[in-house]
């Protein structure tokens, strides 16, 4: 083995792994676990660089994804935008962005963002007029910030007309696209200033509307932890038992909408599920209990797979009766 091969393999493997950044950790590891060893074999075999023999790592990753039954990676998972990826901060930002996109809720928000643009164009026109009205107040007098119609030179009619014109102009500006670098920079600056003013304006509005019973409210946004969870604890496997406490095998589980319930092991990446395959070779993730193995470190620094034992289960003291019938409230059945 020589160092240049090692370095080449490491570089190539890292590029392939980067294309799997959107997949959960355990799935990625299960798939790419011995990628480096495999590439070593290829590299040691004969002449030519890895890229010459296997193609670009992005293409290799795409083929790997397809053969492993994964969907194609979205843009951004591959090697594009190399310039941006150089700095560590940008990488971290991109990872966050990808994390947000990987989460269904995050993806919904991200995909929705461009649709908000026209709304911003309209709001921008209105905010601009309000900004001008406030800026002119010290010169011309008048009430300053007025809701909802801005007051210009003491006239609401004029304010309304100017607002209409400003909204039209703002939308036209938005529809024209970013334009040259210089205009783009100016637009970004103006947008930032107007955005800031909009926040101040809304705060002002909030203060005047709720001046009497203004109470600070604490709002906590929590990001739900990824994975299948039971009271916050991740569910990595599910065991079903019949009424006599006999363990059931090969049970399919779906939720109230009929969607597959898929156990996860985000918190415990050393758990490896062995999923059964359907006729077409696709893994069936919602058949329980899953066979699982745990990677356990053994002497000498190696990892060993050990089957994970089933949990102990004691049925509730029987006989278990059905729930009591609810009191009859509906109309009596029959004529």
């Amino acid at each position: 083995m020589n160092d240049t091969i090692d370095a080449e393999v490491a570089r190539y493997a890292a590029a392939v792994r980067a294309a799997f950044a959107d997949r959960p950790g355990p799935e990625r590891e299960l798939l790419l676990e011995d990628l480096e060893d495999h590439l070593q074999e290829v590299a040691a075999e004969a002449g030519g660089s890895l890229a010459e023999r296997l193609g670009r790592p992005e293409a290799y990753a795409a083929e790997l994804r397809a053969s492993a039954g994964l969907p194609a990676a979205g843009p951004g998972a591959g090697g594009r935008r190399r310039g941006l990826r150089e700095s560590a901060a940008a990488r971290r930002l991109e990872r966050l962005w990808r994390g947000a996109r990987a989460h269904p809720a995050g993806r919904a928000v991200v995909e929705f963002l461009p649709e908000l643009r026209p709304a911003w164009w309209v709001a921008r026109g209105y905010v601009a007029v309000q900004a001008v009205a406030v800026a002119l107040t010290p010169l011309l007098g008048g009430g300053g910030l007025r809701f909802p119609i801005p007051e210009l030179f003491g006239s609401r009619v004029l304010g309304l007309l100017v607002t209409g014109a400003a909204v039209v102009a703002s939308v036209r500006l938005g529809r024209r696209g970013p334009g040259g670098a210089r205009r783009h920079a100016l637009t970004v600056l103006a947008n930032a200033a107007l955005g800031l003013f909009a926040v101040v304006m809304l705060a002002e509005l909030g203060a005047s509307e709720a001046a009497d019973d203004y109470r600070p409210q604490e709002v906590i946004f929590t990001q739900p932890a990824p994975g299948l969870r039971n009271d916050g604890v991740e569910i990595s496997n599910i065991f079903a038992f019949d009424a006599n406490g006999k363990p059931l095998r090969d049970v399919y589980l779906v939720d109230q909408d009929g969607s597959a319930i898929v156990a996860t092991s985000t918190d415990e990446p050393e758990l490896e599920p062995r999923l059964p395959l359907d006729r077409d070779g696709n893994p069936v993730p919602h058949r329980y209990p899953q066979q699982q193995e745990r990677l356990v470190p053994v002497d000498g620094g190696d990892m060993e797979r050990r089957p994970v034992p089933a949990p102990r289960f004691t049925p509730p003291p029987g006989p278990v009766r059905p729930p009591p019938a609810p009191p009859a409230t509906g109309p009596p059945a029959g004529p």
Partner: protein, 111 residues
């Protein structure tokens, strides 16, 4: 006709057949498939298929230490893999029979 499209559907079967014949590590499986005449088979496809079959419990694996070069992870077929291989072989045979009949009967006009 593009053989890579055809390969996609039968790569599981091909890999199971090769590993069923004799245990092998990843690149060894690639080489044996190519030696058998599947020249277009992609390294990444074989690797991905091996990992998927392994994850699905159709293959087991063990590591063989080597003096020079990396330790090799060998894949071996197990009972589930053999059952899958037998099943897929049956499907393949009836499929090729049907295609043979079709092409023999009216392949020229259909093309």
């Amino acid at each position: 006709m593009d053989t890579t499209q055809l390969l996609k559907g039968v790569l599981d079967l091909a890999v199971l057949a090769v590993v069923g014949e004799r245990d092998g590590y990843g690149y060894d499986v690639v080489r044996r498939l190519r030696a058998a005449g599947l020249d277009d088979v992609g390294d990444a496809s074989v690797y991905g298929t091996l990992r998927r079959l392994y994850a699905g419990g159709h293959l087991t694996s063990y590591v063989v230490p080597s003096e020079e070069g990396p330790h090799r992870k060998y894949y071996a077929i197990n009972d589930a893999g053999r059952a899958q291989l037998a099943d897929s072989t049956g499907t393949w045979r009836s499929f090729t029979d049907a295609m043979d009949k079709l092409l023999g009967a009216g392949g020229e006009e259909a093309a």
